[in-house]
Amino acid sequence: MGGGTSSYQEIEETDLILLWGSNARDTHPIFFHHVLKGVKRGARLFVIDPRRTSSAQWADGWLGLEVGSDIALSNAMAREILDAGLENRSFIDHATSGFDEYCRSVDPYTLERGERETGVPAESIRKLAHEYARAQRAELCWTLGITEHHNAVDNVLALINLALLTGHVGKYGSGLNPLRGQNNVQGGGDMGAIPDRLPGFQHVENDSLRNRFEEAWGAKIPPRRGLHLSGMFDAMEEGKLSALYILGENPAVSEADQGRAQRLLEGLECLVVQDLLMTDTAAMADVVLPAAAGWCESEGTVTSSERKVQRVRRALSPPPGVRDDLEIIYELSRRLGKDWGTPDPKRIWDELRSLSPMHRGMPYERLEALDGIRWPCYDESHPGELFLHSRLWQEPLLGPQAPFSPVEFEPPVDKLDDQFPLRLTTGRRLDSYNTGAQTSSYSSPLRRGESLDLSPEDGELYGVREGERVRVISRRGSVIAPIRFDTGLRPGLAFMTLHFPDEVQTNQLTIDAVDPKSGTAEFKASAIRIVKLAASRPG
């Protein structure tokens, strides 16, 4: 099962909060309210981010590492914890496996090497390692700064290793929490919208698990995992995938190396897009299925970063000609020869409960009465789990030991050199969201459009002034964007968002170096250079 192990209430009551590759102040503002309650209660806050963000401004310590050097940092922390004898030996012996190999793997990562690879002073690494290991309770939270890399899964494993080393998992106030970027990213995975799982994280390649679904559905399920999104684009390039049915995604704009993504989408024999807005991807489609807004025009559930399943409800009738996602899928099925009857979200949820043990105890009535329930919830007397992995602290241990996963530091794929000397990283701003499809419709006084954010020092070095439009060039493409200075950036580091594709198509620059294990592209690390535009053109 994959999900944040802790609840938000534990963030308020823990002793140390580590935000790693997360600017939650801007991207998860209400989660950050819980962080601030914790800080006011006395928790120490550390922020690890190449940028000195608005979250970092609240921190007791900010570690401004080089983009993509997270594993060098975490391995150096681990080595220091071991060196100082601060590991939780009884937890390691009891609940984990692979410790010796892990020790050997982090041994070369001295504080000095950590400083060299990450740019973070050795003393800061040492201090964080000691504080994290010594804290009675500690919460480690991360976002896309960890996962939008070519080695995303390795990055996550490195953080899990730290929690296993110190025993900061499976206890009240100690855990590992990926903060989800969309209101149902967690729920999508829970429901099996990942290549290798059926609902409830049941593996599709496990015959007995799959057979239960086949029996319930009266249909055969392909016994092998499918493709990740990035794998699908590769398959399009190979000519192995020629038809695509997209629900609520705008890959023509949101994919890294946008030029390639658009070319491959254009080359499809058949593209069907089901969306509530006429996005750039929908505009390319052979068939567009106008869908209702899942969060306010239909009934159902979503699952949050604390694994809480909550009801979404229909507050509005969709416009004429627009149908609920379920209705569309039912109608497709009917035309393909199988009539499922009338769509009923509650009946589908009950079917899910009958097949997914971790959802079994959450009928709609209980979800309403308890205002949401955290999975797993195995039966109707189960309150749902406040935090995961309590089994790791049971005597004797319940289930298998949790494995350490040694990982090695590999720098970002897009190398810096004389031609491309600046490191471009991407992220989100408080008032906007992803490609702006939804947020561009309201008038935010905070919004100032796309810019290439640079440190003032780089402004001086390249002789550019604030507001000046420059050409930004990567190994894949180029865009024109105005310069903005941000003192939260250090020399050599540049920042852009993906929010304003009508102004600047940032993903023309980004690299689609993909993590083979998760299919995530390295949006966070491109190499660029800037070129001044001809002087005759007004700035």
């Binding site: 099962m1 938000y8 009551e13 998860h28 503002p29 309210h33 609240w58 009240y172 903060l179 989800r180 969309q182 209101n183 290549p195 593996h203 390649e205 698990l209 995992r225 493709l227 794998g231 590769d234 190979e238 192995k240 509530l276 807005l277 006429m278 996005t279 750039d280 106008p290 807004a293 899942g294 969060w295 306010c296 025009e297 979503v302 699952t303 949050s304 970063s305 604390e306 809480k308 909550q310 009801r311 509005l316 205002d371 797993p376 195995y378 406040l386 935090f387 992995h389 319940l398 008032d431 499809a437 947020t439 419709s441 008038s443 905070l446 894949r476 594709p501 083979p516 294990k517 998760s518």
Partner: protein, 342 residues
């Protein structure tokens, strides 16, 4: 670009290489928070009846257990009490002055009266002073209290001519009152952005917006109380327009405002046009469509259009607070024709 490896089903080795990948882990014991320290019970007398409540409760909470509806203006469940409005005062035997129920903690043996003439008079005077100096036309709660306590704010005379912007004149300089008209805080409405309207002629200085903007929720500290005495007012730093201030437009100040002094511009415009029909609005709770935190949004819907988004005060994720996207990001769905907005 370098040539990619061909994609096969084995290109995704992560799960397969993890230990025991396909077999579910057995359920562990149900995790629970550490047990809370036990709270002793405190006995006190409220309006002649004995009430037993946990230690640390406020008189307001104790009154609630007795079915007593205490008026409050500056108090809110999700904020710490600041004791400024004095409308919740009760009589405590042995205390020289009336005490604010919202913040006074219970003690064993207290004898409290909530509805005698002294309490009623005090509450009535507070409400009359407020209603004679402030435009309470969009404060239904305050109006209902006025009615309950027989307040007659008009007895202070008709409103004196508006003094204009409070920041305009020198601080602390006032003309002598004429004894015939009621001084007011009337002043021009502040409309300096597309999301908020600030109509401080309707402000009763309950401080809730300052708390919500500050350390009780948002921790942005864009506003505070400026001035002294009758010149007190809520202000940005140096009274700059909101877009020049630290404001991040979370709307949490508007969410806690009890008088409509702070209002979403969309609601303000509809009210001005005579189109705001609160009695016809349906409220539906759903989950915000943006990030994965899972904030409950209460959508206020009129004529099949969302007209406002709030969040329940007792919701454990939000405690009634939202961010700019949750407050305002629904406009793409406003029932308008759905066109490309990339």
């Amino acid at each position: 670009m370098e040539k990619k490896k061909p994609v096969t089903q084995d290109s995704f080795p992560f799960i397969a290489s993890a230990p025991s990948p396909t077999v579910p882990v057995p359920p562990g014991p149900i995790p629970a928070p550490p047990p809370a320290a036990p709270r002793n019970e405190v006995a006190l007398t409220i309006d002649g009846k004995t009430a037993r409540v946990p230690e640390g409760s406020t008189l307001l909470e104790a009154c609630k257990t007795q079915g007593i509806d205490t008026p409050t203006l500056c108090y809110l469940e999700n904020l710490n009490p600041v004791n400024v409005c004095r409308v919740c005062v009760v009589e405590l035997e042995g205390a020289r002055t009336l005490v604010p129920a919202c913040s006074r903690r219970v003690e064993n043996g207290m004898v409290v009266r909530t509805d005698n003439e002294r309490v009623r008079l005090s509450r009535r005077m507070v409400l009359e002073f407020l209603a004679s100096s402030v435009d309470v036309s969009t404060a239904p709660e305050l109006q209902s209290y006025l009615e309950r306590y027989g307040g007659q704010p008009e007895r202070y005379g008709p409103a004196a001519p508006a003094a204009g912007e409070p920041e305009a004149g020198p601080a602390g300089v006032h003309a002598a009152p004429d004894g015939l008209t009621a001084a007011t805080v009337a002043q021009p409405v502040k409309i300096d952005n597309d999301l908020y309207v600030r109509d401080y002629g309707k402000c009763i200085l309950c401080y809730k917006c300052v708390q919500a903007c500050g350390e009780e929720a948002q921790n942005t500290f864009a506003i505070a109380v400026a001035g002294r005495g009758f010149d007190s007012r809520i202000s940005t730093e140096f009274s700059v327009p909101l877009p020049d201030s630290a404001c991040v437009y979370c709307g949490n100040c508007i969410g806690v405002c009890p008088t409509g002094a702070l209002m979403f511009k969309s609601e303000y415009d509809m009210r001005e046009a005579g189109n705001w029909k609160e009695s016809e609005q349906q409220r539906t709770d759903t989950i915000c469509p943006y990030c994965g935190v899972g904030c409950t949004l209460t959508l206020h819907v009129q004529d099949n259009q969302i007209v406002k988004a709030t969040s329940p005060l007792d919701q454990e994720v939000t405690r009634g607070h939202l961010c700019i996207k949750g407050r305002f990001g629904w406009q793409f769905i406003r029932g308008k024709d759905k066109k490309k907005s990339s």
